[in-house]
Symmetry: C2
Subunit: 378 residues, 2 copies
Amino acid sequence: MDDSPPRADAPADDRNGRRIVPGTASRADRPADRPAARTGRRYGNRPTMKDVAARAGVGLKTVSRVVNGEPGVTPDTERRVQEAIQALGFRRNDSARVLRKGRTASIGLILEDLADPFYGPLSRAVEEVARAHGALLINGSSAEDPAREQELALALCARRVDGLVVIPAGDDHRYLEPEIRAGVAMVFVDRPAGRIDADVVLSDNFGGARDGVAHLIAHGHRRIGFIGDMPRIHTAAERLRGYRAAMEDAGIPVAEKWISLGATDPERVRRAAEEMLSGPEPVTAVFTGNNRVTVTVIRVLSRHPRPVALVGFDDIELADLLQPGVTVVAQDAAALGRTAAERLFLQLDGDGAQVPPERIELPTRLVMRGSGELPPVQ
Amino acid sequence: MDDSPPRADAPADDRNGRRIVPGTASRADRPADRPAARTGRRYGNRPTMKDVAARAGVGLKTVSRVVNGEPGVTPDTERRVQEAIQALGFRRNDSARVLRKGRTASIGLILEDLADPFYGPLSRAVEEVARAHGALLINGSSAEDPAREQELALALCARRVDGLVVIPAGDDHRYLEPEIRAGVAMVFVDRPAGRIDADVVLSDNFGGARDGVAHLIAHGHRRIGFIGDMPRIHTAAERLRGYRAAMEDAGIPVAEKWISLGATDPERVRRAAEEMLSGPEPVTAVFTGNNRVTVTVIRVLSRHPRPVALVGFDDIELADLLQPGVTVVAQDAAALGRTAAERLFLQLDGDGAQVPPERIELPTRLVMRGSGELPPVQ
DNA sequence: CTGAAAGCGCTTACAG
DNA sequence: CTGAAAGCGCTTACAG
């Protein structure tokens, strides 16, 4: 932020091109208690049930009954309490309620990056299920950093979320064992938990990749490249395994220079793609390991002299409108999120822990749009 | 979820194609207290500071000092407390802490739809700022429903979030006045608050749309269509105003059949586009009011016999790789989120409420890629 | 350096 | 139908 935003009467543009217009209310228009409120102590002197009780001339418990819609209050008493609530602007403090009740009606979701288009629909699906169960959703991005994942997960446990949906960045989740034992529901999505036994919801990464690569082989390709994410990431490893299986099924020996695993930043991926597309025996087709890789490889191929076939893992928007359309192995991100969240509430609702951990695998779908059906061009 | 998941030893596919494999741990392997833990009462018998104190043979306050890293504890006492913490698997209950301290170190973000690619980067930016201030982020989607926005906002206030970043669905936010007065920080993003005076961070919707339409006019178009969102949405109204201003600046009278406002579902947008592209005097260019509209119109135009120029509000992924590339008025979603969140913490940190509401407007950027530079074809 | 008491704002368990 | 007391798990304010 700027240290000294413009305060002139006429709107002025600051050096970032932002236009800043002072609000229409002067400080004098504000309620006198605002400054005190803003100091942040005691929620800014918010009225409590005790205040409501005093004003309505009833006991604390009666206010609690009215606020929670419990029976056993005469209409007249109820009216008086409601009036006091209105007059004071009372809103129940759910953090106090939570302390007493033991359940917070909130769940956490830890994912890699909220800005990744794959996680938007997943996150929304988790939110919808949470909403249906009356729970709020706390979101956190691990940025693919195991330390940050752990920090976030434990912070959410300290807030006493009822459950946690985790897309793991790390590969050792023993640090969560005490939390699970203490009753925090836990479901892992997209990748399995490391070194603990817990519910996990996955796409069929192996099968999807194998089918995608087999599709390229069926269209005559033999020199097929694979560009994927860091091998320590489960999905990346599984998809590579699918690639190798398809090649082996077809009796095609794999040259290791056709394979590139690593960070998915555009620069690294571009170099990897250009490398396997050059030399005396370039690949005639590429299988890309996720949406970010696919997007970069599309850019590289669009500038490439020869047509090169492409199948990508994950669907991408507008894939059908490119020339050629992009053939993909699509996974259903929303279904992953929904299934995981439902599983979480199954754990939470089944009082008695009748829910042994399961591994649920969702199918992928090969969507043919053109790029995966191109014949090999030497 | 299934009522009766398969329990066979071999993996089986259920009718949705999901493969379910029972976990490797049998119930007997679980700690004996697990069933009780899962009933959800009392956070599953979690150890408290009192338990730690008893085990370490110290007072409650000493445990509190160690847990919070406060000074005034001998190394030996500290060690004994740490051992008890480890042995018991103690984790401080932040909801109790919050009740005493008055600040929850959490903020809320209410947006339209987490699954919309525009909100992913915005949400992530808010999260990063929150993280830098040690706060967690609670996310909620209003689904463009004012009632749901209000329900969410008030639920978050009941949880006593320290502040709220709101992308408004409704146009009357007086219901938030008591909360603001009680000290909840509040910033509106993307659209202004309705009927209350509050901080707001916007893109220059009017100027961006005007520039985009002027760009089409500069390339020779006179019959230019506008397809936008529902007119009650501020951004839609502003962008339409920009369209009209550009047309008026160029002395071009606007035929009302060139304008279509409404829901942004593909079906409605497709019909609107096809309508203005047909008849004796069809439009030769279209300005689309947001990313969802743009995507649908691209599909319509790709099947259209004549080339039609297109400029869209909001950038979209792969826009540069389409034929032609899609010219857009880009706004910086991450900057909107970051600016709003920084503003929120400015309110929170300025103890004394020295922060009068402001309206901050971020510039847009015209990105030329081909579709907006097509000449008119009658 | 250490800890007992009071209190944050609710709900629970109980008594009238 | 109504309410006083105790307690959820911490922190605050204070006394030793």
